[in-house]
């Protein structure tokens, strides 16, 4: 994710009018890039891209193939499929992080992008939450209940854990949605083995 400037959204859409509409909608909030087909999208894609809006039906390279290549390259951007047909379960199985039915409304598109950007924060915030809980667990393993009750450090930690958990749950959103649930798990797996306590 880019540290400076607005988030980068890559629109992959073969119909120029549709791509232009998205660009107009999004350009005041995001840095928008447009690719007219799969191969161009793959060439455009680098670590600065935060969210990809991927049209499912394109000549040359279908949305699924582009997604597979993104996952194979182990890029951490989040990918929303834009589809005219009701996607049913295959969206989750194919590994899309969200989907939008075509033609999307402006608000719907913005909301989806915001949700995916939020999700990028989930892993970091869960990691912080974990560190706080791990510290509390160490204190609880080492001290008696009376000592804990007298410890301002412990009381402070308990407060911070509560606040951090609220923040995490806010970002996670409604976990009854399949794509949000699987997407959140995929986020934490991106970092598996890389972080130490």
């Amino acid at each position: 994710m880019s540290d400076t400037g607005p988030p980068v959204v890559l629109v992959v859409e073969d119909e120029p009018d549709v791509a232009e509409t998205y660009r107009r909608w999004l350009r005041s909030t995001y840095d928008v890039r447009v690719a007219a087909d799969g191969p161009t999208a793959m060439a455009e894609l680098d670590a600065s891209v935060d969210v990809v809006l991927l049209d499912r039906m394109m000549p040359e390279m279908a949305g699924e193939e582009v997604l597979r290549e993104i996952r194979d390259r182990e890029m951490t951007c989040r990918v929303a499929m834009v589809t005219a047909v009701d996607p049913d379960f295959d969206v989750v199985e194919m590994g899309f992080d969200a989907y939008v039915t075509k033609p999307p409304e402006r608000d719907e598109l913005m909301e989806t992008i915001e949700r995916l950007l939020d999700r990028a924060e989930v892993d970091d915030d869960l990691q912080q939450y974990y560190s706080l809980v791990a510290r509390r667990s160490t204190l609880e393993a080492e001290k008696t209940e009376a000592e804990l009750n007298d410890s301002p450090e412990y009381a402070n930690l308990v407060d911070r854990i509560e606040r951090q958990r609220e923040e995490v749950d806010e970002e996670l959103g409604d976990m009854s949605t399949d794509t949000d649930f699987v997407g959140a798990v995929r986020e934490i797996m991106n970092d598996e083995g890389e972080q130490t306590e």
């Binding site: 379960f89 989750v92 199985e93 892993d123 869960l126 990691q127 939450y129 974990y130 809980v133 791990a134 509390r136 667990s137 160490t138 609880e140 393993a141 995490v168 749950d169 996670l172 409604d174 976990m175 009854s176 399949d178 649930f181 699987v182 959140a184 798990v185 995929r186 934490i188 797996m189 970092d191 598996e192 083995g193 972080q195 306590e197």
Partner: protein, 220 residues
Amino acid sequence: MSTPYDIDEVLPAGTIETLPAGTNVLITGPAMVGKRELAFRLLATGHEKGEGVLCVTTSASASSMLDEFERRVPTLDRDRVAIVDCSGSDSQQAIREIATERVSSPGDLTGISIGTAKLLQRFSKQNVSDVRHGLVSISTLIQYLDLNTVFKFLHIYTSRIEDTGGLGVFTLEDVSHDAKTVNTITSEFDCVIELREGADGREVRVKGLPGASRSWRAFD
């Protein structure tokens, strides 16, 4: 979705009879004390009322899970049992008989989450809305993954069970891990059922539920 899950007669009288929808329960105790068996009993109790069971197994095969459920519920409706099998040791047998999603390793949490999402969607198409979710066991996940990853996954998965109004039943072999690890895992659960071998046989204690007695009781 909002009615509580019945666990009548699973635990000693006067302990707990029902658990609110969205509750996540952790069963802890040493090896061979019967955590898995208790998990099966908690999962199978609502079957005759039309509930579904969706269980993730990390070491036992799907077919041995199915056998255990059928022993417990002779009238088992196989359409309402679904298993995510990451034990890597199964024959094709159970897969033909019940809905099974195979995941190559207990370390593949993305695969596990996709498998559970598919099976839950299948239940919802059958109009089975009350689902008991099992994960046996967390100890295997800790062998394959960093503790922080397992913790984060449990936070997401228990939120999922809460937000879908299910009942979650997980097991952890507490003596294999240090106190800090056990405390960290335990903190993600609404309720902890502890098992131990006492001088006069097996005992149980329930922590975390308001109203439940916190003392050890005999438990056969």
